[in-house]
Amino acid sequence: MNKVVAGADAAVQDIPSGATLMLGGFGLCGIPENCIAALVKKGVNNLTCISNNAGVDDFGIGLMLQQKQVKKMISSYVGENAEFERQLLSGELEVELIPQGTLATRCMASGYGMPAVFLLAGVGTEVAEGKEVREFNGKKYLLEHAFDSDFAIVKAWKGDRLGNLVFKDTARNFNPMMAMAGKITIAEVEELVEPGELDPNYIHVPGIYVHRIFQGSNYEKRIEQRTVRKRNP
């Protein structure tokens, strides 16, 4: 068994225009930089992207927005991107905003083989419009469906040839549950290792969920809000 592909171009080569993609990351933290660059280069369009955020103007999913490759964004927060705002207001881009926990859990449901879940977030708000409401123990919940995505594209810290993945710090975020949710899951990793090098006790996503893996390069890892404590001179 060998899930290793040559690189980002090979990993995304069969993603067609019109596909539904999940893209891991929170803000610019833990995003699949190499695959996003490859998708921009490939020029596919009409994409539906499920991702917590939409990048910034010149990085992350923002790069795909610049090339007008995205038809619809499904996100919880999209505040950092002027081109996004322009396309939304001009009607070029569709956006569906859903609560962050609902987004995560709809991905999780998919990876756990559950068609839907009942969630509390958004009861009594416009998020509830058109959704089935069920009461359990006197509390109301919304029926939320598992996501159906063609490809999940995630970024991990380390991975092995069998697709086992380990994430670092808060770059984990949406990556594990998206990895578990893709019909085809592509993982780019900072360090590709041989089976046996990762301690089986500390693997976050078992390779059974992962179809393609490669070692990425030139990670920029841009920081959105650099907040520091000054040292005394």
């Binding site: 926990g101 708000t125 920081i223």
Partner: protein, 218 residues
């Protein structure tokens, strides 16, 4: 003169109890971390996947893989733990987080909150706010009592799209501290130099003044 932002945060910090797991929102709520009382140990949850959030890193030690929900670079503490977004909202939804502090554009006297959307303006999204307000056991709102036009933000009914219904337990504004009860807002403390008359004039929702209302001291 009412409280400044730091004082609002300082007052909210007095609500913290030893052993609390706490989620602090962006803005004034973040400042609460600077005023945790002596002898009170709390663990801060950041909904992007961290329990045990530490202070900002020393200059030069920022790590792009380690951020909080406001996308700011942060640090860990001994005992910190990372997890994915599904588990993060799982612990929120399951009621494990003891206290959530967040900002609001409007709060109604029945505990409804609006803080994510202004019709006609660019909508950025609710992020994790709807999940947090729907599930947290205790929600304190930090806010200015009035908008820049001087109109009350403590209302009989929210005019903006809701983030959550009947969930706010307490409001700390620049003018005072208000419990949200079945009888509406109950003013339990007023800011130094702020009169009860001013609070009454600037509160549009149902308001009663606690018999033992106190002036806050710092």
């Amino acid at each position: 003169m009412g409280l400044n932002k730091e004082q609002i945060a300082q007052r909210i910090a007095r609500e913290l109890r030893d052993g609390f797991y706490v989620n602090l929102g962006i803005g004034i709520p973040t400042l609460v971390a600077n005023y945790i009382p002596q002898g009170v140990n709390v663990i801060l949850q950041s909904e992007n996947g961290l329990l045990g959030m530490g202070p900002f890193p020393w200059e030069g030690e920022e790590d792009p893989d380690l951020i909080n929900a406001g996308k700011q670079t942060i640090t860990t503490l001994p005992g910190s733990v990372f997890f994915d977004s599904a588990m993060s909202f799982g612990m929120i939804r399951a009621g494990k987080v003891d206290l959530t502090v967040l900002g609001a554009m409007e709060v109604a006297d029945n505990g409804d909150i609006a803080n994510w959307k202004i019709p006609g303006k660019m909508v950025k999204g609710m992020g994790g706010a709807m999940d947090l307000v729907a599930a947290a056991k205790n929600i304190i709102v930090a806010m200015q009592h009035t908008n820049p036009k001087g109109e009350s933000k403590l209302l009989p009914k929210c005019t903006l799209p809701l983030t959550g219904v009947g969930c706010v337990k307490k409001v700390v504004s620049d003018l005072g501290v208000f419990d949200v009860t079945p009888e509406g807002f109950v003013c339990i403390e007023h800011a130094p130099g702020v009169t009860i008359e001013e609070i009454k004039a600037k509160t549009a929702g149902r308001l009663t003044i606690a018999a033992d209302v106190k002036e806050m001291s710092f």
